[in-house]
């Protein structure tokens, strides 16, 4: 367990004792060792039998060990998080059934400490409001910009309810604006945008989402029987926007495109059926070059029903040979690093030869965000 969590646990322990409770069971060496084993789940360094044994020990823990287990969620993999969550739930259920008591103040402190892992804070919050339902209304108003997206979502939901009930339009507008700015969930964002529209307020959706709307594109190249997905066409070798190449039918050359859609339903949409001639068995490339003033860690997020490959600065980040199996907001997400100076985004998007009406779309929406999904575009696009 990292030192920070250990100190934190000890601090909470001391506070717990000072307010008159009996001293909780001090974690045994066996308990700590088991906790460490569960933290290593997914790293390939612990056997299944060891995991099972460790979980049985940790799940036998007491109520006052819950936050110690939650703190152990720091910087671990998703499978390890689930093992620890199951242990916490098992302990909390048992304690509530047997003694009807959980360490309320300890849980509250854990929730409000932003240095704790997001999912651990969320778990603590869920158990806290089981024993103290009013804590929900006390804590959520301060979580509208929380780094835990689950807590932020609930806080915004509560703020939207407040906006709906607000006595006047100015107050409604203020609540909706704050909700919109903080929202990372699409449904909540849509709800805020529509409510603000009714109040005569329009938002910069392109910037909010971080949609990339200006592209340089070339195509169509041949994708008969899907073979174009793996075939390396010239743009994959080298980006030279002055050159023209043999496409599927004719010579093709790079052209500029800007998505002008402003309505929420189509904001950021790049529809290749509209830009190029609607065709089947084709592929196209779209590129963006831009300057970044510094090294930046971002996320590339896009939705499409077409097969795609995504490169950032020549590195292949996403490869999805999937057609017409649902197109959803933020369907594909990859972390990426922008370097100081010139950077390049290159997207290859393929259309297959299905003839059903629902297989017509050949389009995408692409955005650059921070790690929580907040729009992070444009970034000093070069002329």
């Amino acid at each position: 367990m990292p030192m920070r969590q250990f100190i934190q646990s000890m601090t909470v322990l001391a506070a717990w004792t000072m307010v008159g409770h009996t001293c909780p069971t001090v974690a045994s060496e066996q308990f700590d060792a088991a906790l460490q084993s569960l933290r290593r789940v997914g790293a390939g360094t612990v056997s299944q039998s060891e995991i099972q044994h460790a979980w049985n020990i940790v799940a036998q823990g007491k109520a006052d060990q819950i936050t110690t287990i939650l703190a152990a969620m720091d910087d671990i993999g998703p499978l390890a998080e689930n093992w620890l969550r199951a242990a916490v739930d098992t302990i909390a259920e048992r304690e509530l059934r047997n003694s009807k008591r959980l360490p309320k103040e300890e849980l509250r402190q854990f929730v409000i400490d932003l240095s704790n892992p997001s999912r651990a804070r969320r778990t603590a919050f869920e158990w806290l409001i089981q024993i103290d339902p009013a804590a929900r209304d006390r804590l959520l108003p301060k979580m509208v910009e929380d780094s835990s997206l689950e807590l932020r979502h609930d806080a915004i939901a509560q703020l939207i309810v407040e906006a709906e009930k607000a006595a006047n339009d100015d107050l409604k507008r203020a609540h909706y604006r704050r909700s919109f700015t903080a929202a990372r969930d699409l449904t909540q964002t849509v709800q805020c945008v529509k409510s603000l529209e009714k109040l005569g307020d329009s938002q910069d959706l392109e910037k909010h989402f971080g949609y990339v709307t200006e592209w340089t594109m070339i195509g169509p190249f041949d994708n008969t029987q899907g073979a174009g997905f793996d075939k390396i066409f010239p743009p994959e070798h080298k980006l030279d926007f002055a050159k023209q190449y043999q496409g599927k039918h004719d010579l093709v050359r790079w052209q500029s495109y800007r998505s002008e859609f402003q309505r929420l339903e189509k904001i950021g949409l790049v529809d290749l059926n509209e830009i190029l001639i609607e065709a089947k068995g084709v592929t196209a490339y779209l590129a963006v070059t831009f300057n970044s003033a510094k090294k930046q860690k971002v996320q590339c997020r896009y939705e499409t029903v077409n097969a795609t490959k995504l490169w950032i600065n020549g590195e292949l980040l996403i490869r999805k040979n999937i057609y017409h199996m649902g197109g959803e907001f933020d369907q594909y997400i990859s972390p990426a690093t922008f370097l100081p100076g010139k950077n390049t985004i290159l997207l290859k998007i393929c259309q297959n030869e299905q003839t059903e009406s629902w297989a017509r779309p050949w389009n995408f929406r692409f955005r650059i965000t921070d790690v929580l999904g907040g729009g992070h575009w444009p970034i000093a696009v070069s002329p």
């Binding site: 997914g42 299944q48 039998s49 995991i51 099972q52 979980w55 049985n56 799940a59 998703p78 499978l79 998080e81 689930n82 093992w83 969550r85 199951a86 242990a87 739930d89 098992t90 259920e93 999912r119 997206l149 689950e150 979502h153 969930d185 999805k320 040979n321 999937i322 057609y323 199996m325 649902g326 197109g327 959803e328 369907q331």
Partner: protein, 417 residues
Amino acid sequence: MHSLIVKSLTLGLVASILANSINAHASDWPMFRGPGARSVAESANLPLEWSIADDQNIAWRADLPGRGVSSPIVVSGRVFVTCSDGLNRSRLHVVAIDAESGERIWHRQFWATGRTFCNGTSAVAAPTPASDGSRIFAYFSSSDVVALDLDGNLLWIRGLSIDFPGAGNDIGLSSSPVVAGDVVVIQSEAQGNSFVTAIDIHNGATRWDRERPQQSVWSSPIVITQNHGGKQADAVVLQSGKGVSALLAGTGELLWEYPMACSTSTSPVFDRLLCVPAGGLRALDVSEIGNSSEAVIWAETKLGPGYSSPLIANGQVFVISGAGVLTCGALESGKILWRRRLGGRFWATPVISGNYLYCMNSEGKSFVVQIDEKGRIVSEDEFGEDILASPAIANDALFVRSHKHLWKIAREGAERN
């Protein structure tokens, strides 16, 4: 043809459906479509009518913590239900409810490790869990598999999208796992990464896996016993758009395959003959596959199921079309015996007890149909909520779940097990 039928019926004694009876009680409903995936409870004493509005023959109604189109399963007096909800549908739930009282016994929650997109009518909790009688294997569309004992103690977890990158599709998976011997078999077929894998029920280790056609499939496997090297062995029957095949459950060895354009959404059913939704319904004598071109005993386009799966009982086969028409055919010949228009769209596969078929359409309307009276509708009711999950029968009760609730329907005053 006749000799084939006789032979197949005789072989039916040998190639009988596996009832997943490792530790299961006779009255359990341990998997999607119940024992043997046949949707049949031979001797349950169910009510022939009920009323949600008037609370007639409704033993209890329990709240559920999230959405789901997975079926409830019933093991050792407990009902197990999976649900999903939360931000991006990423919270997975497994709930154990006391079958007698409707009280929640335990509730475990997990975060999805794989893709959580799905059609708006469905849920990440779409596959029905399976049990060997002492463990629950909960599988989700996010490609997460969780094994718990009946008291909610975690035994193992697998995130299949970690082991099989690209697993799943963004409409949602729904194929339910099956237990065969000491493995739980999961069919995960999609464009991104298509496979079937057998996981050791004791420790969660992969026993074997096989690539599958790169096409989305929502149908569920079934388990039959087959002669292999002079011994009876569990075989997993898998259906895809390219055909139906059987793999040895213990090793993944291909026993046979039969190419045909099968339905990718409904599931096969086996009772002496293997009935496969494919251009209607086709009945196969599995003992003849590979030996004879006459493995298909009959094919009937008018027995094509819509969204729910076919079922077999009393020597008859039943399907509900996409238009909500219930059709009964003779198992031996495929001859149409009767039809009854129920109306609505049926995602939930009906269940049979005795001479009665219990059907629920997606709008939440229920029908009790007498199958020895040419489909006479005995009673109807309304749940008032969408019903997409197939019901379960156990302990003389019918268990029906919506996205919000689980109902137990049982005769009032009847002695409860």
